[in-house]
Amino acid sequence: MRKVFVYPLVIAGTAAAGLVATGTAASAHGYVSAPPSRQALCASRAVADCGQIQFEPQSVEGPKGLRSCDGGVAQFAVLNDDSRAWPARAVGSSVTFMWVFTARHRTSNWEYFIGGTRVATVDGGNQQPEAVVSHQIDLAKFPGRRTVLAVWNIGDTANAFYSCVDLNVGGGGTPENPPATTAPPSTPPATRPPATTAPPPANNAGGTWATGTAYKIGDEVTFQGKRFRCRQSHTSLAGWEPSIFTLALWLPV
């Protein structure tokens, strides 16, 4: 991962050429993963009941020039709903935005807006994005609770991808503010717990198999009337139920 400021991304021509053949479909997709965008909060289930967007946070695509969080896509309108009390991540005055891609289209540029103001533009050089793209953006002039609209403008289509990121921009934050070490909001909304906190894996070992549980090698569970023993430590999830399809995780006993 290379931090990009204002200069164009550079990609070796040969590396880019290898991907052109697969990029012909309108399958360019991406979103801001950190600080978590609204669609990332839906996909991580930190915000519940988001609808279809939880399965495809990368799909908020609309014509260039929009200033809405949902890219004008009706089924993603929840992203525009400020009444959802999206949790705002506490950050310093300089924020590193990271992007996730499921397809790497040529990029015109990335733009960041607060309200109607364009805060920053990062040139994409009409190249394909690097493996991971991160942009460090100075938000010192915008302290407090803010919604940043991050836009990925595609180079060879008329479309863009939109991500809204809710922040609480702190005064005098450190210049570098890697998301992984960002402190939780010091004043979380009174009406709800910090919604970006994942539920801690429950210790349900020995009981009935359940999702969101940290199982260790040797733990035994019951699932659909059968006993299974864990052979690969993991935090359980839907689709990893003990069965003949997951013998790498669970063996019947």
Partner: protein, 198 residues
């Protein structure tokens, strides 16, 4: 020893009618499959089933190129465990899918002509360039790069499962549903790790 006793007891229960009779589709009395058991698929299938399985095998293979790197690098214990669990389940999944395709006398690899699949979302979602970029990433940036790459990769696996919608093989459809669930939940875990919320 314990396993044998349990199996015997289960078989006795079935034989004596003390438990619910197995449905006709259940496998007979082998209550304890071996670790290398591969579930069977019905013979009936169509081109959509084949394409989905071929593309999913390729996609899983690219994912393994990512998860394999986490084992040797400096990452948090939670990231290491998630990577290992994804690695081992996807290896198993590939074996199952290959076995079904082989049983149908179909190729296990997708067409080399990637453009033929481009209308279905492109192949692969993660290419050699990204795998190499991850390998070349410094220790300081490895975890964030790994998590973001794998998140996008599993996001696109969810997209791929749409291909199975036109299929007819019930086991393939069931697998697609399982992949959509598991990849969505993995993305949830990955995004929480990216956000430093674990």
């Amino acid at each position: 020893m314990r396993r044998i006793l349990f199996a015997t007891a289960a078989a006795l229960l079935l034989a004596t009618g003390c438990s619910t009779a197995p449905s006709p589709t259940d496998p007979p009395a082998q209550a304890v499959p071996a670790a290398d058991t591969i579930p069977a698929a019905d013979a009936e299938h169509n081109a959509a089933d084949v394409m989905f399985l071929q593309m999913m095998i390729a996609h899983d293979g690219q994912g393994l190129e990512l998860t394999g790197q986490a084992a040797d690098r400096s990452v948090s214990e939670e990231v290491k465990l998630l990577a290992a669990a994804i690695d081992t389940t996807q290896r198993e999944e590939v074996k199952i899918m290959e076995s079904w395709l082989t049983g149908w006398k179909e190729a296990t690899t997708a067409s080399q002509d990637m453009s033929a699949h481009a209308s279905h979302g492109g192949l692969p979602a993660t290419g050699p360039e990204q795998v190499k970029a991850l390998r070349d990433t410094s220790d300081a940036d490895f975890e964030a790069t790994f998590l973001n790459l794998l998140t996008g990769h599993q996001n696109s696996a969810v997209e791929l499962t749409n291909l199975a919608g036109d299929g007819v093989n019930p086991q393939t459809k069931d697998l697609a549903k399982r992949i959509k669930q598991s990849r969505s939940d993995q993305v949830a875990q990955l995004l929480r790790l990216i956000g430093g919320q674990s």
